[in-house]
């Protein structure tokens, strides 16, 4: 934990695959913000053979829905939501090229296997510190599904977003979390 790894863009599989569970990371670059309804919509569109409104290749997905912004800041309060609710869309995201996900909490058992198979990573970022995380966001734009309000897909640019590797690319879960 004492050592901090800073990850800079552009992201590739190489950026994340050597990280270890429990490692502290500061992320810089672009992050796609999307949660339950947006992922369901994308999944349903793909099932119907439609083109997706956004390109997911080489992206990092943050499971979040921000609060309204204040005039002096690019983004409102932002923080992770429970990742486990979106486990059913995780393989779909990986197949579209998503390299890593950010959220909060434990995930289903099968996520370890998915991370190992696709060499992808699951990070957690602290919850209940959304004013602090908002100050890591330097830019925010709505990319799709604006009608969903807080659940619209956003592209944010972050500087030193604090993350912890929860499930790494070899399927290892953060040690302190496995004990229970």
């Amino acid at each position: 934990m004492r050592e901090v790894t800073r990850i800079l863009p552009p992201y590739s599989l190489e950026s994340f695959k050597n990280l270890h569970a429990g490692e502290h990371v500061l992320l810089c670059g672009h992050v796609l913000v999307m949660r339950d309804q947006a992922q369901k919509k994308l999944f349903d569109m793909k099932e119907k053979g439609e083109n997706l409104p956004i390109d997911l290749s080489n992206t990092v997905v943050f499971y979040a829905g921000p609060a309204k912004p204040i005039p002096t800041m690019p983004a409102g309060a932002i923080g992770p939501t429970t990742s486990k609710r979106m486990d059913k869309y995780l393989e779909f995201l990986y197949l579209q090229g998503v390299l890593a996900t950010i959220g909060k909490g434990d995930r289903s058992e099968y996520v370890k296997e998915l991370n190992k198979r696709y060499r992808r990573v699951y990070f957690v970022t602290p919850s209940g510190v959304a004013a602090l995380l908002a100050s890591c966001v330097v830019k925010s734009d709505i990319l799709a599904f604006e009608e969903l309000g807080p659940e619209a897909i956003r592209l944010i640019e972050v500087r030193d977003l604090p993350l912890f590797v929860w499930i790494d690319a070899s399927g290892q879960v953060f040690r302190n979390a496995v004990n229970r």
């Binding site: 204040i70 909060k104 209940g128 959304a130 908002a134 912890f164």
Partner: protein, 277 residues
């Protein structure tokens, strides 16, 4: 008779909701960070402090999930209101969430093509009548992640206390990490299915550290606190520091054939506050 104006109730409720969303509860900080047990715990507590400062300075909410709002209203029989209290409280919620940099998270209809109600209404209002001329409003700002840990069990009336402890412990062990620990746990024992759930919710409005007046229930609260802390979920699920802030239990008599046990969970922010008018 005492007339309390809707304008006054609305104004005080707005101020309360603003405060609950932007001011960090000091009792929470003392329990979560009073006895640092590891490097993750230390780092997270620094973030809590920094977050509280930024939220306070900029008027930002502590958490992006500014919740749904639940009210417990104690209404004195000598109080005269200008309109049904839930109308006033919903107007206060609407004003708070439309004008402040919070998130509006309520959608309707609940299934199918849901649309955001855009002002975070409706709030859920529970009213109890009391003797006297006081109006006491308890507001609870409740995040969705912790609400998803709620549970109701209709147990056999022959269930032992030890089995109840096991049940609650297993539930928090399996699900606690998906909310935002250290958790405040509310348990409703007895009554009917609906009242047990309400008891569990009301238990979350009890001050951290306070014990039940009934010594047997107080003992059960203490046992649950220590059993749940033994799970080592820790602050934010990192395995260090307390797993729960406290456990509160409320009870009601029950029918001989039924034993409802309800569980409600609050995230570590514990955004609960009270106003008296």
């Amino acid at each position: 008779m005492k007339l309390i104006s809707s304008t006054e109730i609305e104004k005080r409720t707005f101020e309360l909701l603003k405060k609950l969303n932007t001011h960090f509860n000091n009792d929470v900080f003392k329990i979560s960070c009073g006895n640092i047990t590891g490097e993750y715990n230390r780092y997270l507590c620094e973030l809590f402090k920094e977050n509280a400062e930024i939220a306070e300075k900029k008027g930002l909410p502590l958490c992006q999930d500014t919740g749904f709002v639940e009210f417990f209203v104690e209404l004195g029989t000598s109080v005269v209101l200008e309109e049904p209290i839930d109308k006033t409280l919903n107007r206060a919620v609407s004003k708070t969430y439309s004008t402040l940099p919070f998130r509006t998270s309520m959608v309707n209809p609940p299934i199918g093509e849901s649309a955001n109600t855009k002002d975070n209404t409706p709030a859920f209002v529970h009213i109890e009548q009391r003797d006297g001329q006081d109006l006491v409003i308890t507001a609870h700002v409740k995040g969705g992640g912790s609400e998803n840990l709620s549970a109701l069990w209709m147990l056999l009336p022959t269930t032992s206390v030890e089995e109840i402890i096991e049940l609650v412990t297993k539930h928090i062990q399996a699900r606690g990490g998906q909310s935002c620990p250290p958790l405040h746990v509310g348990v409703g024992i007895g009554g009917s299915a609906d009242t047990a759930v309400l008891l569990a919710k009301k238990a979350l409005t009890i001050k951290l550290g306070k014990r039940n007046d009934d010594p047997a229930i107080a003992r059960l609260e203490r046992t649950l606190v220590s059993r749940l802390n033994e799970l080592k979920i820790g602050v934010q699920g990192f395995g260090e520091g307390p797993s729960v802030l406290d456990v509160h239990i409320l009870t009601l008599p029950r029918h001989i054939a039924v034993l409802p046990i309800a569980l409600a969970v609050d995230c570590f922010l514990c955004r609960v506050g009270r106003i008296s008018l």
